[in-house]
Symmetry: C2
């Protein structure tokens, strides 16, 4: 029931994110329906859902096409993720973590460190693994924030980073190099969030300032030690 419910949506989304349906591909109802072996009705519903997710754009009388995401769009989505996850970290700090959540975060940090710091080369498998860890880390923070509006706000653009990943995958060499730097900065970002949640309790204003530093350090350049020092200093006053 719920499997066949959104089966078409899941299939199409997977095809788009995997790159099997390249950006710019035109999609009409009838061929798509025939291709998937279903009728037009679920395809129409799926097209509208994927349009709302930002994965498809509607062409006036010519169906839909797989949306071309520019790098600036991806950067915009990343910044949105940044502030929303910063908010989530603050609210998680205010509301407190369950012991299980705290242990999970700590474990994920360790796993991430092992991946980032150990290998000198970045294998595709390691990247895949890091993506998993990253997603789990942020999911826990967002869950701990207990604010459904954050999840709702992310739902629209949560797939864009993955679309970007498949877009960047065209140049594997550059990818491996960049991703190493990215993964390191990102791991630092994780530590900052964790420090915020663990150390600062409900001191909301201070948290927000650290979050500002953390976010900007992450987005606008590589992390610097200064910010980490501030965070750690606040963590153990």
């Amino acid at each position: 029931m719920s499997r066949s419910n959104n089966h078409v949506v899941l299939t199409l989304r997977q095809k788009i994110l995997s790159g099997e349906l390249a950006a710019g591909t035109r999609l009409a109802e009838i061929p798509t329906a025939e291709n998937l072996g279903v009728s037009r009705t679920p395809v129409r519903i799926a097209f509208r859902a994927l349009e709302q997710e930002g994965l498809l754009t509607k062409l006036p009388r010519r169906g839909y096409e797989v949306r071309t995401v520019s790098t600036s769009e991806i950067e915009g989505a990343v910044e949105v993720r940044g502030v929303l996850e910063g908010l989530a970290a603050r609210q998680a700090a205010e509301r407190g973590l369950t012991e299980h959540q705290r242990q999970m975060l700590q474990s994920l940090l360790d796993q991430g460190d092992a991946l980032v710091l150990n290998g000198t080369t970045v294998t595709e498998a390691a990247l895949e693994q890091y993506q998993q860890i990253n997603k789990q880390f942020h999911d826990i923070i967002i869950e701990a924030a207990q604010n459904p509006a954050i999840q709702a706000a992310l739902s629209r653009s949560e797939h864009l980073p993955f679309a970007s990943a498949s877009a960047l995958a065209f140049d594997p060499n550059n990818m491996a190099h960049e991703s190493k730097r990215f993964a390191f900065a990102h791991q630092q970002h994780h530590h900052v969030f964790y420090a915020i949640i663990q150390g600062l309790g409900t001191r909301a204003e201070g948290i927000m300032r650290e979050h500002a530093n953390a976010t900007f350090g992450f987005i606008h350049g590589p992390r610097n030690e200064h910010n980490l020092t501030i965070i750690n200093g606040s963590e153990n006053p």
Copy 2:
């Protein structure tokens, strides 16, 4: 075409937000379709769209119901709006405003001040007018940010504040009293955002700190003069 395209969505959304369809009301496809004089197909599509917007929730085998939004959910949505609009203000500052946008913001600030500062009592008409001004103000900031991801993130919960307004409308006396305080704080909030965009240019970190103050002043309590002083001081260094 595009009018009859999402006609059902528009109608249902309006009925929900106006309170004509109260929270908790169950909606089935067939009665709704008959009620609106259309077939089940557009109703089904509309139900799914409104579910994605967070206005309806799906009941397993019993149709949909108008979502009951708790006050904590509304507060969560307001906080999300807060950080996203803060991000928008920063990006608007970085990218700069067009002259027309700047004039519009200034005009809206003046109009808002006139509404908020003049009357001692808050009439329903004035509130309506203030809502309009408020929406225009934020729309311009978001437009100036030139980041589609912000709009996308807001699209899911942008109607919740209005839902809250109709929810709060049950007690008009309390409403009028509270809304006066709210409108004042909110107008201050506007001034802060405007100061950020006008005065701080691309000094992102400073902006973010002021934004933190602005946001927390707005959300967690009445605005205080101290924050405004900081902002104004930064505006004219």
